[in-house]
């Protein structure tokens, strides 16, 4: 399930800015361990952000997104107190969802 994400969402002048920090290894599949064996690829493939029920960002990642991915984006609308939900899933089938309130 992974560790919780850190989601910040703030509305200013009718635009909501969302900043997401995800806890994930984002292993490329090209790195070798100390014994010389390839460390298998393990990375987030999809990340979706919703404002209420509406998708506001839908992204696909490759393994070259940095470890502990960071993402910032803005959408029109959103009001203080409303919910932002961010969900991801990775190439091993693991997934996670976290929520934040727009401030």
């Amino acid at each position: 399930m992974g560790n919780p994400m850190k989601i910040r969402a703030a509305n200013k002048d009718g635009v909501t800015e969302v900043k997401v920090l995800v806890s994930h290894e984002m292993e490329t599949g090209q790195r070798k361990d100390a014994a010389g064996a390839i460390v298998p690829a393990w990375f987030i493939t999809e990340l979706v952000a919703k404002h209420g029920d509406k998708v506001v960002l839908s992204s696909e990642f490759g393994p070259s997104v940095s470890k502990n991915p960071y993402l910032a984006f803005k959408f029109k609308g959103g009001a203080k107190g409303e919910k932002i939900t961010v969900s991801w899933k990775d190439n091993k089938g693991d997934s996670r969802s976290d929520e934040a309130t727009i401030g």
């Binding site: 635009v15 984002m26 490329t28 090209q30 493939t45 999809e46 979706v48 509406k54 998708v55 506001v56 960002l57 839908s58 992204s59 696909e60 990642f61 490759g62 393994p63 070259s64 997104v65 940095s66 470890k67 991915p69 960071y70 993402l71 910032a72 984006f73 803005k74 959408f75 029109k76 609308g77 969900s87 899933k89 089938g93 693991d94 997934s95």
Partner: protein
């Protein structure tokens, strides 16, 4: 009424089948939302990646900006942003020319989401970074070189 419909769906055989598949690890929740573009992420060169994204040979545009430092102290974490003032942008992608696979990430922007996305990527070496955007169904591109340095002991 809506609630009732949901209840029916939940107990219906479709949902049960989905549940079974999920339990077996064949599909995971949310998988049905979108299909990861394997062809584009597996492509090595810029040209193949653009082809897999259906972008062909995009025109350079001054209205697309790639932001990032001129020099990155470490290639493992390079902050990159894409912004554009072009109308109706539905998709943004970040490509790194000299990485083993050029495509780093794609973002689908529904109406109302601004064409202004920031993330962090890995760079194997100094390279051009490309921002690709789809505006009114057409593709445009911009580029910036980011140098990757080797640092010292890390302060």
């Amino acid at each position: 009424m809506n609630n009732q419909r949901r209840t029916v769906l939940k107990s219906g055989s479709g949902a049960a089948l989905l549940g079974m598949l999920a339990a077996a690890g064949i599909i995971t929740p949310g998988m049905a939302l979108a299909d990861w573009n394997k062809a584009a992420f597996d492509a090595k060169s810029m040209a193949d990646t653009l082809k897999a994204l259906g972008a062909g040979s995009p025109a350079d545009s001054k209205d697309v900006q790639v932001t990032g430092p001129d020099i990155a102290e470490n290639g493992a974490v390079v902050p990159v942003g894409v912004a554009s003032s072009l109308p109706n942008i539905s998709m943004v992608a970040i490509l790194i020319e000299k990485n083993p696979n050029a495509l780093a990430a794609t973002f689908v922007l529904p109406e109302g989401t601004e064409a202004n996305v920031q993330t962090r990527v890995k760079m194997g070496q100094t390279s051009n970074i490309y921002a690709l955007v789809k505006s009114d169904g057409k593709f445009f591109m911009a580029t910036k070189e980011i140098k990757v340095t080797l640092g010292g002991c890390g302060g």
